[in-house]
């Protein structure tokens, strides 16, 4: 589903990724494990289309993504700091992708209510993100990503700032959501325990190269 062929990325003289090749089959939950500054987030940005590779190819479902804009890719992302829209309620955040694709009315309400129930956020539907805890914000981010119906979900250290108890609860929830929706996931972390708990396969990255 996600295929990287000898992908490299440099910013000026600084080489961030070198000859990275990996293959994540459809429906797999792949982990990218490595220390800070290893190039993990940049790799996700290349798959998402937020950055263009300096060399190599990124393919999703067999299609070269070189000329495909982020909004046209079958990809969504859960960000480390949630990146929720602060002016919208939880309901509107989750509905954002549905409305952006032209859906209106009862179908949006049905789908959002279903996702909020799945993530245990029903009672916060009309709250703004600034009154939610870190864990609740991350649940909204999960629900919002699932609402996009993207086949590929990228996770950029989404549990990084949470305490251990909350992390375990969200790992269990994420596993449940993955079993139910069967999306293909590429999840970046520097936490080995998190990687082992979630991943079907683990890629190790260090200094911009897979090891």
């Amino acid at each position: 589903m996600i295929r990287l062929e000898q992908v490299g990325k440099r910013f000026g003289e600084r080489v961030v990724l070198r000859d990275v090749s990996l293959n994540v089959p459809r429906g797999d939950f792949a982990m990218l494990l490595g220390p800070s500054g290893a190039g993990k987030t940049v790799l996700l940005s290349l798959v998402a289309g937020l950055e263009a590779p300096s060399s190599g190819r990124v393919l999703i479902d067999g299609t070269d993504m070189a000329r495909v804009q982020p909004e046209r890719r079958p990809v969504t992302m859960v960000f480390q700091r949630h990146a929720l829209f602060p002016h919208l309620t939880v309901f509107e955040n989750v509905a954002f992708s549905l409305r952006a694709r032209g859906q209106r009315g009862a179908s949006v309400r049905r789908r959002v209510d279903e996702l909020l129930a799945t993530t245990g956020l029903g009672e916060f539907a009309h709250a703004k993100p600034d009154v939610l805890s870190g864990g609740q914000c991350q649940r909204v981010a999960f629900a919002r990503a699932l609402a996009s119906d993207a086949e590929v979900v990228l996770f950029d250290e989404p549990l990084n700032s949470l305490d251990a108890g909350l992390k375990d609860a969200l790992i269990a929830e994420l596993k449940r959501l993955h079993r139910a929706a069967r999306f293909t996931a590429l999840y970046v972390t520097h936490d080995l325990r998190e990687a082992e708990a979630l991943g079907d396969r683990i890629y190790h990255i260090e200094a911009g190269a897979l090891i």
Partner: protein, 262 residues
């Protein structure tokens, strides 16, 4: 804080506030009765000023918002030159701006010929006032909105794109609402600058009573002809509008802050 330094700061604050208040108090040069009479006579001038300055501010909003967005979110060759050029009217003496605009729209210039062919008259008309006000005030709007858009974390528009939103949808649904404070304060700054514009307006539109006479022009013509009551009343109008705008902005942003803290 050292007590002497504390006292010095307090004294400086009081002195400066007094200086501004006493200076502004001098616009009430005539008796209240005379000022009230002059207010009545000034209503056509006030109407022209409000009409033209609000039109200029709305045009600045319409034209300046996309420009501010592009400057805040895009990199392109020559961006610094474009930014400097768009900022130039702030530093340019208004009379220079007025002369440049006058030459631009004069019947002898290519632009003037096109406008004449379309039946649009700019010199000595209200559109001339709007043009001069827009030229001088637009950078204030662009600066405010550009800063507001640039302050939005890059992950927010990236998240919107990865939720299948087009750039236009993201602009209207995410970027504009999140830049609201910049848009409001930019509009207010642009409007008050347009309302107080004198030099460029006088060059392009002249001062035809009842047609192109704005408040700043009325202050000048009436003060130089010795009618200090009228000049004072016009100055009061401008000062009151500026004061009311500042108070409204402070109240709006205080409310917003309180809502966020709550």
């Amino acid at each position: 804080m050292n007590p002497f330094f504390k006292l010095l700061c307090a004294a400086m604050t009081v002195l400066l506030a007094l200086f501004v208040a006493v200076t502004l108090g001098n616009v009430f040069v005539a008796s209240p009765l005379e000022t009230a009479r002059a207010f009545g006579e000034l209503s056509p001038v006030l109407k022209i000023s409000l009409e033209t300055s609000l039109t200029a501010a709305l045009l600045a909003m319409l034209l300046g918002t996309p420009v501010a967005y592009v400057l805040a979110r895009r990199s392109f060759p020559g961006k610094a030159a474009v930014e400097t050029l768009l900022d130039l009217p702030v530093a340019l003496p208004p009379m220079v701006a007025g002369l440049a605009l006058l030459v631009l729209v004069s019947p002898a210039s290519p632009t003037g010929r096109v406008l004449s062919a379309l039946g649009i008259r700019v010199i000595f008309t209200k559109p001339g006032i709007v043009l001069a006000q827009l030229f001088v005030a637009l950078p204030f709007y662009i600066r405010a909105v550009r800063s507001a858009v640039a302050a939005i974390p890059p992950s927010i528009p990236a998240a919107a794109a990865l939720l299948r939103a087009t750039e236009a949808y993201t602009f209207f649904r995410v970027i504009l609402p999140l830049s609201r404070e910049g848009v409001i304060s930019g509009f207010a700054m642009c409007w008050t600058r347009a309302l107080g514009e004198f030099g460029a307006t006088a060059m392009v539109a002249g001062c035809i009573p009842g047609v192109t006479e704005t408040l700043p022009i009325a202050i000048y013509t009436r003060a130089t002809s010795g009618d200090l009551a009228s000049a004072g009343a016009a100055a009061c109008c401008l000062a009151l509008v500026s004061f009311a705008t500042l108070v409204a902005l402070r109240l709006a942003f205080c409310k917003e802050d309180a809502r966020r803290k709550a």
